[in-house]
Amino acid sequence: MRWLRPIGQDKLAALSLFLISTTLFAGLFAPFLAPHAPDEVHMELRFAAPSWEYWLGNDQLGRCVLSRLLYGIRPSVLWVGVALALSAGIGTIVGFVAGYFRGATDAVLMRICDGMLSFPGYVLTLAVIGILGVGLENILIAFALMKWAWFARVIRTSVRQYADSDYVRFAKTLGFGDVRIMARHLVPAALPDMAVAASSTFGSMILQISGFSFLGLGIQAPHAEWGMMLNEARTVMFSKPELMLAPGIAIILVVSAVNYLSDSLQLALDPRLATSRRAPHSRTVAESAKLQGSEVA
């Protein structure tokens, strides 16, 4: 794995990768890791401060905040990841086809994308929820339906730029098939753009899911979800502001980790950027040598 090594050297990226994998792991194994059931009510422990038994304290119904945070990973991170993979997958295929084949195919696909993009995202999501009903899965369906067009746009632009280049023309001359050319030449070239687009969408999707749950349209009580935890904490915002900290910090951490990771992934994948990052090291040695030379003179 060539790209894993530079990530290991980049401390921020390594930390982000660690944070993301821990989060995913914790979400998958929430039932084993959570110290308590997420919807176990203890009215006597309402708004209790953190203790050895309840590490992050208890909420307005005396439920364990840590357990709710762990269970909340599933809708907030895992299901968002699924929706993202779905929309990025559709968008990538459409983007590659449009950018590579061009002409009428490109025109038709891009007009469909324009149609999709002309609806404001939030409004269309609300419309889908209005049609299909309240619930996480419907929000995810709405996300997948909405976001692919944006992905297709971004990826098509990036593919178009590389599809014109001489190395693609050379591969065509040799007689390689279109699928092979796309897989061998265009996917690696477009991957950094795809990573950045996907990571920024991942962040906004987590925030939007949280937003919809906050409005009461997403996950339904008593299930745990980070946005809904924020919403519940809002009612006691002035008397117990610390309840907002746990879900708020969790959202911020995961979203920033994904963004940092995609940034350094972009650096790791592109050899041009890798050498420009490595080069200053050797260059400073050369420069300092030169400086000494002139000092002597």
Binding site: G103, A104, A107, S165, D166, Y167, R169, F170, A171, K172, T173, L174, G175, F176, G177, R184, H185, P188, A189, L269, D270, P271, R272, T275
Partner: protein, 247 residues
């Protein structure tokens, strides 16, 4: 052998539903015989690069036909391995993420699907174009223009094609490197017993390398003449072009 018969090509100007089309090539017919080095000379916008794309089978002519050994050029299997190309822009000719070794492997995997390629073969290819094996692990952005173009030439000869199409292959190199690359092409021509189609705007470079030149203007063949009789050109346009070089 390559046969081009009454080829026409036009492109739509404006959007998808635009009626207006720009005629780029009209009534192009010629033959290229195996082992020959044919120069295609024209100014920018004369349609010579479009003609190159048609010859390589990347694009299809609107009318007429381009045939390699009697089979249409846009049929992938017909031209597979028999024709290759070197392009002008050496910065984008090699995939920026590929090392020189990986770039040279690509044409070789065309024949040998199992990628069990003798690594000495790559060393030999590099050696033939005047580079040593230390270049194998370099990325294209670490190469100079001349080196990158040499790698492209090595990549082009790797399949041992009968014909290499050179589309302005030396035009973006500086003077002394141009001559080196042209000399290299000359020596490879005899080593591999192949022919070239040399597309350029530079008459001197064409005269240096080619047996026969074809002068193209506004998408039509103006005149075809053997290099040793270049001074006896008939058409006024060809005369004017030559005068500019001679002066």
């Amino acid at each position: 052998m390559l046969t081009v018969e009454r080829v026409e090509k036009s492109y739509r100007t404006g959007g998808l539903f635009a009626r207006r089309r720009k005629q780029v090539l009209s009534g192009i017919s010629f033959e290229w015989k195996a082992g020959e080095c044919l120069g295609i000379i024209g100014e920018s916008g004369s349609g010579k690069s479009t003609l190159g794309r048609l010859l390589l089978g990347i694009e299809r002519p609107d009318r007429g036909s381009v045939r390699w050994e009697g089979r249409p050029a846009d049929e992938r299997r017909a031209r597979r391995g028999s024709v290759s190309a070197v392009f002008q822009d050496y910065t984008s000719s090699i995939h920026p993420f590929f090392t020189v070794e990986k770039a040279l492997m690509e044409p070789l995997t065309l024949r040998n699907k199992r990628a069990a390629i003798d690594s000495r073969r790559i060393d030999r290819l590099l050696e033939q174009v005047g580079l040593d094996s230390s270049y194998r692990n370099k990325y294209p952005h670490e190469l100079s223009g001349g080196e990158a173009q040499r790698v492209c030439i090595a990549r082009a000869v790797a399949t041992e094609p009968r014909c290499i199409l050179l589309d302005e292959a030396v035009s973006s190199l500086d003077g002394s490197v141009q001559v080196q690359v042209l000399d290299l092409l000359r020596s490879l021509k005899t080593a591999y017993d192949m022919g070239y189609i040399f597309i350029t705007h530079d008459i001197q470079a064409a005269a240096y390398l080619c047996d026969r030149v074809m002068i193209v203007r506004d998408g039509r063949i103006e005149e075809t003449v053997d290099v040793d009789r270049l001074r006896d050109v008939q058409s006024p346009y060809a005369k004017k072009l030559l005068d500019m070089v001679m002066a």
